[in-house]
């Protein structure tokens, strides 16, 4: 009994130490990526090529999801607000929910699933098939040539994707509440205009999406580069990217919200 308890404590201790060690390892790798970003800036074509894969190819899922999330928000918001005779505020509800929270958060979650996992799998497979080793043997640094362009492409595309998500959500809300239900169009837009603040709402949402972009892509490139060079290793790394990114996005969102919207009515 005592031996089992001791073993359990040892196991927990081992996992904690391993977790801290991995966090330190990931932090060092993140700094290395930043230090080796010069190539990405000098040869911006490398980043643009990756922007296509991470950003442009994520557009469909972002546009469609944004539209549906906005439609659901409009429907639920209208159903609730009309009980209090405040259905005219539905535009405000949809816009604030999207630009403050759902736009950056849901877009980042989708981005982690679509682009983050793809980045991890690609880098992991390049490692497993010795492409990264071959690059090193050709005196080309794989962190500068492969990892950094993918990292910056994710950081750049995330805020744009979040903005597109929010815009599509607002139009989704418009579609349901104005076109289908019949809320006054002028009220929908004017209430939204007067309630949404550029500094507190739109800018803070943009800042959030920048943080999420850095977090998701940093996790994705690290997991790919650190993946054991086997099929099982790459699959595990891809899963970790999605799970860790999702948790980090939600955790970061709470912290950022606490700082950004404290005292804002």
């Amino acid at each position: 009994m005592f031996r089992h308890a001791l073993s359990a404590i040892q196991n927990i201790g081992h996992r904690v130490i391993e977790g801290i060690w991995r966090l330190g390892h990931a932090s060092r790798f993140f700094i290395l990526v930043l230090l080796k970003s010069g190539t990405s800036l000098r040869r911006f074509g490398l980043v643009i090529r990756e922007l296509y894969f991470t950003g442009v190819l994520s557009l469909i899922i972002i546009v469609v999801s944004g539209l549906f999330v906005g439609m659901v928000l409009g429907l639920q918001g209208y159903e609730t607000l009309q009980k209090y005779g405040s259905e005219s505020a539905v535009g405000t509800l949809v816009a604030l929910s999207l630009v403050r929270e759902l736009g950056p958060v849901v877009a980042a979650l989708l981005f982690a699933s679509r682009a983050g996992s793809a980045i991890t799998a690609e880098i992991g497979l390049m490692k497993a098939t010795e492409q990264l080793a071959a690059m090193g043997m050709m005196a080309v640094d794989p962190v500068a040539r492969v990892v950094a362009p993918r990292f910056w492409s994710g950081v750049i595309s995330m805020p744009f994707l979040a903005a597109i998500f929010s815009v599509m959500g607002v139009y989704g809300g418009y579609l349901v509440t104005v076109v289908f239900i019949g809320v006054d169009e002028g009220t929908y837009w004017s209430q939204m205009q007067s309630a949404v603040d550029f500094r507190f709402d739109i800018l803070n949402g943009f800042i959030k999406s920048c943080f999420f972009g850095v977090a998701v892509t940093a996790i994705a490139v690290f997991e790919g580069y650190d993946a054991p060079p086997t099929a099982e290793g790459v699959s595990g790394a891809t899963t970790r990217t999605v799970v860790t990114s999702s948790l980090v996005i939600l955790g970061l969102d709470f912290i950022l919200t606490a700082f950004m919207f404290r005292g804002v009515s």
Binding site: M126, T129, E130, A133, G136, M137, V140
Partner: protein, 270 residues
């Protein structure tokens, strides 16, 4: 040691954690030579290539390449040295997102300021040397195993290196592709005046093309010599390896307790 040596491996040892892999290896490889490194799986052959290329640090001893101690170089100096080396990985390690043409052009674009018209000519010349000029537009997933290795070979000679290291270049190839790769290694080494190190299990094919052979077993050099010396050798390990005998100094059975004891027979009957 001779003044012609391109690579000198002196008293080289390497351990993973505390498990010794190589112990006191000495080798000299001259310019223009094709040298084979043979040994069983897990004997440390690929590790030796990684030590020569500076990818890992030895625990003892050193490797000199063109007069420079590889593991004492700074990262920049090592990368500069690696421009004089090429490596053919076991399955080619072609960049899967680039075409055959772009794979061969990769180093030229990364390390030189040559105009694209000149890069085009050079790439086609390298591909012509391996017989795949007509395949320049294909993607790696459209190539057979032998073709992929020939493209990788063209890529590794892109900047006319002094040394090419081949990690198991014959693995998984049909007899024709195997013979093509073997002849290409010999021909390119002679034509470009470089040195080639071939890590391989394929005794018969490699003995046809190499100038010298080192056998590694249990982390040390078990035997070495010219192909003729190796073929005529009566040393038990070399004889077993060259003739592919299943039992000998390298035992067929993994160490275990008595067979009778395991089966509970004779005195061990329960």
């Amino acid at each position: 040691m001779t003044s012609e040596s391109l690579i000198e491996v002196n008293n080289l040892s390497f351990s993973y954690d505390k498990r010794p892999i190589l112990n006191g290896i000495n080798m000299h490889m001259q310019r223009g030579q094709v040298v084979a490194i043979m040994g069983g799986s897990g004997s440390g052959k690929t590790t030796l290539l990684r030590l020569i290329s500076g990818a890992i640090q030895p625990t003892n001893g050193h490797v000199k390449f063109a007069g420079e101690v590889v593991h004492e170089l700074s990262r920049d100096a090592l990368f500069s040295l690696r421009r004089k080396m090429g490596m053919l990985f076991q399955f080619g390690a072609l960049f899967t997102d680039l075409s055959v043409y772009d794979n061969v052009a990769f180093q030229m674009r990364e390390h030189t300021n040559l105009p694209e018209s000149m890069i085009r000519d050079l790439v086609l010349m390298k591909l012509h040397a391996v017989g795949l000029r007509g395949a320049h537009y294909l993607m790696p997933n459209e190539l057979s195993g032998g073709m992929a290795r020939r493209v990788a070979l063209a890529r590794s000679i892109a900047l006319d290196p002094m040394l090419i290291m081949y990690d198991e270049p014959f693995t998984g190839l049909d007899p024709i592709s195997l013979s093509v790769i073997g002849n290409l290694i010999r021909r390119l080494t002679d034509a470009l005046g470089m040195t080639s190190i071939v890590v391989t299990h394929d005794v018969q094919e490699s003995l046809k093309i190499v100038d010298y052979v080192y056998f590694i077993a249990d982390g040390v050099i078990a035997a070495h010599g010219t192909p003729k010396e190796v073929r005529d050798s009566v040393a038990p390990f070399v004889h077993q390896f060259v003739h592919g005998e299943e039992d000998g100094p390298v035992p067929f059975h993994y160490p275990a307790q008595s067979y009778k004891k395991d089966l509970g027979l004779g005195d061990y009957r329960v």
